[in-house]
Symmetry: C2
Subunit: 106 residues, 2 copies
């Protein structure tokens, strides 16, 4: 299944997990302790987060530390950037309109 970042952050539990491991890389068990759901459920969320590259694994013996992939978080920022540009353009157009009005006035 093809996942994207926006699907990754859609679930509130997953956003909480992201926030947790943003501060410190953690194992599934350690993460699960912070929630009232089972470890397996957390593991599934981690799988989804891994699929959309929001999270990276680091193996250490039998433990697996999950850590946030900051670069992928930037994808969201990038998407938002689009709208900032659109709004800027809007304002520029508004400026032009005002300028034209001013010209026609005199």
């Amino acid at each position: 299944m093809r996942r994207d970042v926006f699907q990754g952050i859609a679930d509130p539990t997953r956003r909480a997990i992201i926030l947790l491991i943003a501060m410190q890389a953690m194992t599934p068990n350690a993460i699960a302790e912070h929630f009232k759901t089972s470890r397996q459920a957390v593991s599934k969320h981690l799988q989804i987060l891994t699929e959309c590259k929001l999270v990276k694994q680091e193996h250490s013996g039998r433990e697996i530390y999950y850590q946030l992939n900051g670069a992928k978080m930037a994808d969201i920022d990038k998407w938002l950037e689009q709208f900032k540009k659109i709004w800027e353009t809007r304002f520029n157009q508004l400026d032009e309109v005002l300028l034209t009005m001013k010209k026609n006035k005199k």
Copy 2:
């Protein structure tokens, strides 16, 4: 049903709709023309976007113009801000570590 912004932007069609009306407010029919889905399907997406306040309506006779609520888009930006702060803190801590190492060296 309680919706949040992240659920709103989770679906690719909805993101496309958001982008469309970001440029110009549009009616459901006009929006639907840009996709291969039915008007009713688009209407459902608009309903969801309205529920999470990402979109506002403006009635004009029997037509309804949907426009983007930029303020709500900022919610996403706000959420991302958290992580930027966490990362900054991380870097500051790294600075401290390097500083401590430097001190111990001499």
